[in-house]
Amino acid sequence: MYLCIVLFPLVGSLCTGIFGRFLGYRGAAVFTTCFVFFAFLLSCSAFYEVALCASPCYIKLSPWFMSEMFDAYWGFLFDSLTVVMCVVVTLVSTLVHMYGISYMEKDPHIPRFMCYLSIFTFFMLMLVTADNYIEMFLGWEGVGLASYLLINFWYTRLQANKAAIKAMLINRVGDFGLALGIMGIYYIFKTVDFSVVFACAAHFAANPAPFVFCNIEFSTLNTICILLFIGAVGKSAQLGLHAWLPDAMEGPTPVSALIHAATMVCSGVFLIARCSPLFEHAPTAGILVTLVGAMTCLFAATTGLVQNDLKRVIAYSTCSQLGYMVLACGLSNYSVGIFHLMNHAFFKALLFLSAGSVIHALSDEQDMRKMGGLARLIPFTYCMMCIGSLSLVGFPFLTGFYSKEVILECAAVNYTVSGHFAYWCGATCVLFTSYYSFRCIFLTFSCKGQSSKQLFKNAHEAPLLMALPLCALAFGSIFVGYLSKDMMIGCGTNFWGNSLFSLPQNVLLYESEYLSQIQKLLPIVFTTLGAVLAFIITKRGTHIVVNINDEMISTAPPLTLTQSMSNRFYQVSSASFFIRKLYFFFNKRWFFDKVYNDLIAQKVISFGYKISFKTIDKGLLEVLGPLGVSNTLLKFVQQISRLQSGFIFNYALMMLLGIAILVFLVFFFPMFYPIIDIRIVFILIISGLMVSPGPKGEVAPGCEPSEQPLAST
């Protein structure tokens, strides 16, 4: 049963990928959906057995790499952490499959789409069920691949190609860190098996054996954890390597929901949680994780404030929520991080699928400024979007509330600099989250319509197949937090068993119970404030932040604004210079892309072309290497074949010389040996090969190697 959870999506994917043509248009979709659904059912059963009945399952299937000390098995590890992830992944995947059937109805490539979705599910399950780092790395790379394929699903679109390549490249940076981390783990622990590594972590923390690199000593566990965290940063789009996530919205909306919101981007958080025994013994890495998480949170929220693309706003919201999760993990509250991951999967999938529904209704219009007034046209989607948003902003007693509050409380009771920083970043973000969520809803649903009549006439409510997943996710967004709070992060719960590990001094959940009431209420106050602000700013129709029309258009017109767009929102030109700049700064995503392009990408490209390609590869190495060797060798060979003169007396002379050499070798070579340095002989031979014996033209025609028989001899 456990293996089937992993294998079913693979079967579905392979069948659809290979026989999609025969399964047909509907068949392929139904086939994969069914397989993923079965996997979901089995996951539920596994959840019951492993998590609720507390009986973890370990499967060592077969050996994979066996090389002396190094051994990696095909092993599967089902503990509480894994089954929670399994249920989340398969559930969201099933719903997205179902949604995709209807959403992609008009697309001729639906079997390919379903195949990619299923292969993604398979790799994600590999990632979460792996029992060693190598197998996890397989899943890790696999989801990266699936993500690339799905972003690039509409491969005729240039933007999609660019976004896919960007995602791939940025993820490579993270994967590089992860691979280095795995190598470091093997170097220190001599194994890649989770159980062994985690069991030995405490020992290596007590007896540090520092890495020495460039004559500087590095703490082993901290280095390893930071490298692993770099992997997590890449995959979970944390600050620095986040740039791919908003661009990845070029893919179809179900993909955004599945990969870029609910599951794959969470794998970085999963990695940190999985390696909790390592991170617990690496305090420096923990601080770094906290800081990066907090900064991501703030950065993504501020950027999300001023985006105009519906999906991009949600994407930045994802980024910001991932920051919360990473922050929680950095503060050693892994269970809270995973709890938020699970909750986030529900409401973020709901938000994305609702957004997809809006986009579907408006014939693929994504710009919020062109929407408005949709509440009457598509009330169901409006409801869903509202539920999702309320859950996201942490409206009391909805799912998001339970996890976000706890994260903030934990940060508040961590009396360190990083803890305070994280708390204030997180608390501010609550305000921003609330603002952009409500701005989104207001702009999309309740403002006056901004687009052509035709668009609104054709607007239609989501069909049944799209509505069903929305309903399911809406229920999840409302109830999951309430239902599972005590189970997962309640005081003294033993739900997680051995799968998550926190040092006793790092457990903050008890402390947070004693937090003052004002501090506990602060997030809710911020949420309300954000909503009110959003209401005022959007409803009043007078944007404070809008005096940008001409300036924006002249600098970067096609990216965000067009001339036609500057009708209502941007007519007020009374905004102050500072606010204008701030808007510009946020809208341009803090100029991360520009900095990357100008300072890194351009430099690397020019280095790669001018120095490493032109000068070294095509210049130095080419001349010394292939070209030089082959040219001199050819000349040398021609000279050698001149020895083959065709005259018998020459041949006989060569034989005699050969005899003389042999006699010398046998009798006299040992005598000369002490004065001959073989290295010098080698150098002589090699330099003889290098120095060309003269250009080709110099060989007189008479001296050409004679291959003609000399009958006269």
Partner: protein, 567 residues
């Protein structure tokens, strides 16, 4: 290297299994005798048949010009039959281990193995050239009988246990070869090849004979097993310096025959000049015989031949420049035995010349000549190891080389039609291969796989041969030769893969069409192709097949044991 063997095992240095009854001696060499008789009878048959035919023709048409009867076909078939019967006789021979004719001939497992290889290679090279001989109007049955005779002499050569019998056998073989090389009398190339081969061959025979007489002069012995005994205690004796020179001369005489550098110079000319069918025969069969003989001569008889002069100097070397690198690479020429030095040098030189020389060639037969020179270099690696592994690797390589060479010559000997020039009916230039992929893709892929195998690309057969050889060289610490072997493989890849490139991607230059491949060539091509392609399924099979040379290997172990005791 020394394997422990039971105490009750008697270390016997000379070949045992003495048979005293005279008639059993003839039984032992019955296959060879049959072979000889077959060649003589076929000669008589041919002469008589030709005569009678001529007489008939004379009486019928006195005025008309008389052509000799076309006899090559049926004589060829009869010779193939003779080979097959020899093979059967060989397998059914009741006496496998014997020293016969007063210590002049010997039979044991290694010899049996080599004999089988020789007959197989001769048989196959006759089979693939049937069509060639017919189409080329080489209308002379003597040609095929000479092949039979040469094979027979090689059988004697491999089983000879005495300098005299060895010399007689090699001379018989060489005489046959001179005639064979010059057989296409109307071709300038062929006559020149024959003449060159004859003159240089005579020279090398002189060297060989001189070496034998030196050995005899300094030891008073011509018998191999006696030589083993006398040389096994030469460590501190200076009197064998002359014998050492004799050994070098004997080695040179044979190295000439197997075209090892620097005694290879005749090979490209002769291989190119002689008829292609003869080239195929030259490229394979004599090498098996002489390498087999080398194993017996140098791995047992001359193994311990060393002089004090060389020995003392050797000790002095360790005080010289002594870096690890230096030691590793020069160990080959300082701490090895004299006979190993000879073969080491020739092996390294052959591999390098074989790789470099072939690059500049335009004619396919010359290219194959250099390729075979390179292969001889690899064989000599196995020989100069002086260990059981080395000999096994050598024998494995002989089998693989036999298969690959038969395969490539079967392709070259398959008929081709040129549009404009009607005289040339076979591939001659390398560029002729450019039509191959277009006109006969199956032949092209066979050729490509074979060349990849010769270049040593895994997992083809040639790779395994080289793998075993280099492995055995490393295991007895002959690093220099192993490294050069590896590098030479890389170099030789250049021209092998160039041929594949030409046959697949080059623009067609000659309007040249491959005709239907003759049936027998086709069968042989198919079998050898599958061997080359699928050897990797069980590369140990060849290794096991060589383990029938157990008795020889035991003897080497005993020899090692004794040498160690001496030391």
């Amino acid at each position: 290297m020394v394997q422990p063997f039971p105490d009750d095992f008697k270390p016997v240095l000379e070949t045992d299994f003495q048979i005293f009854l005279f008639e059993n001696h003839f039984k032992t060499v019955f296959p060879e005798i049959f072979c000889l008789f077959a060649s003589v009878l076929l000669l008589i048959y041919g002469v008589l048949y030709a005569r009678i035919h001529q007489a008939n023709a004379d009486t019928l048409r006195r005025k008309m010009k008389i052509f000799p009867p076309i006899m090559v076909n049926h004589v060829s078939l009869l010779v193939i039959l003779a080979f097959l019967l020899t093979l059967i006789l060989m397998f059914n021979n009741p006496i496998m281990h014997a020293t016969i004719f007063y210590n002049t001939l010997v039979c044991d497992d290694l010899i049996f193995f080599c004999k089988i290889l020789i007959i197989c290679s001769a048989l196959l090279s006759v089979c693939i050239s049937l069509d060639y001989v017919r189409k080329q109007a080489l209308n002379a049955f003597e040609y095929i009988i000479l092949l039979l005779l040469a094979t027979c002499s090689m059988l004697f050569l491999i089983s000879s246990a005495d300098m005299i019998s060895m010399y007689l056998a090699i001379e018989l073989q060489s005489l046959c070869f001179y005639v064979l090389a010059a057989f296409k009398r109307n071709s300038e190339f062929s006559t020149e090849a024959g003449l060159k081969y004859f003159v240089l061959g005579a020279f090398s025979s002189g060297v060989l004979l001189f070496g034998c007489s030196l050995i005899y002069g300094f030891t008073g012995i011509t018998n191999f097993s006696e030589l083993t005994k006398i040389f096994s205690c030469t460590g501190e004796n200076q009197h064998f310096t002359g014998a050492l020179i004799g050994m070098i001369f004997v080695a040179v005489g044979f190295l000439f025959k197997i075209t090892a550098v620097p005694f290879h110079t005749w090979a490209p000319d002769v291989y190119e000049g002689s008829p292609t069918s003869v080239t195929a025969f030259f490229a394979i069969t004599p090498k098996i015989a002489i390498l087999g003989l080398f194993v017996r001569l140098f791995e047992s008889s001359f193994y311990d031949l060393n002089t004090e002069a060389a020995f003392s100097l050797q000790l002095g070397t360790t005080q010289g420049v002594s870096t690890t690198f230096n030691k590793l690479l020069s160990m080959e020429f300082t701490s090895t035995l004299p006979w190993q030095k000879i073969f080491l040098f020739c092996s390294i030189a052959s591999m390098i010349v074989g790789a470099l020389g072939a690059m500049n060639q335009k004619k396919i037969k010359r290219l194959l000549a250099y390729s075979s020179i390179g292969h001889v270099g690899y064989f000599l690696i196995g020989l100069c190891c002086g260990t059981v592994e080395g000999i096994q690797a050598l024998l494995i390589n002989l089998i693989i080389y036999l298969v690959m060479t038969i395969n490539i010559f079967a392709i070259i000997l398959s008929p081709v039609r040129r549009d404009f020039v009607h005289s040339v009916q076979r591939i001659k230039y390398i560029s002729d291969l450019s039509v191959l992929f277009k006109t006969n893709p199956i032949l092209a892929i066979t050729l490509a796989v074979n060349f990849f195998s010769m270049a040593g690309l895994p997992p083809l057969a040639g790779f395994w041969g080289k793998y075993y050889l280099l492995f055995s060289a490393f295991s007895c610490e002959l690093y220099l030769v192993a490294i050069v072997g590896g590098l030479a493989t890389v170099l030789s890849c250049v021209y092998y893969i160039r041929l594949v490139h030409i046959s697949y991607f080059e623009k067609i230059q000659n309007r040249l069409i491959f005709e239907r491949v003759p049936k027998i060539n086709g069968w042989i091509l198919a079998i050898t192709f599958f061997f080359i392609l699928f050897l990797f399924v069980s590369p140990g099979a060849t290794r096991r097949s060589t383990s029938i040379t157990r008795s020889l290997l035991q003897r080497i172990e005993i020899r090692d044991h004794i040498t160690d005791r001496h030391a």
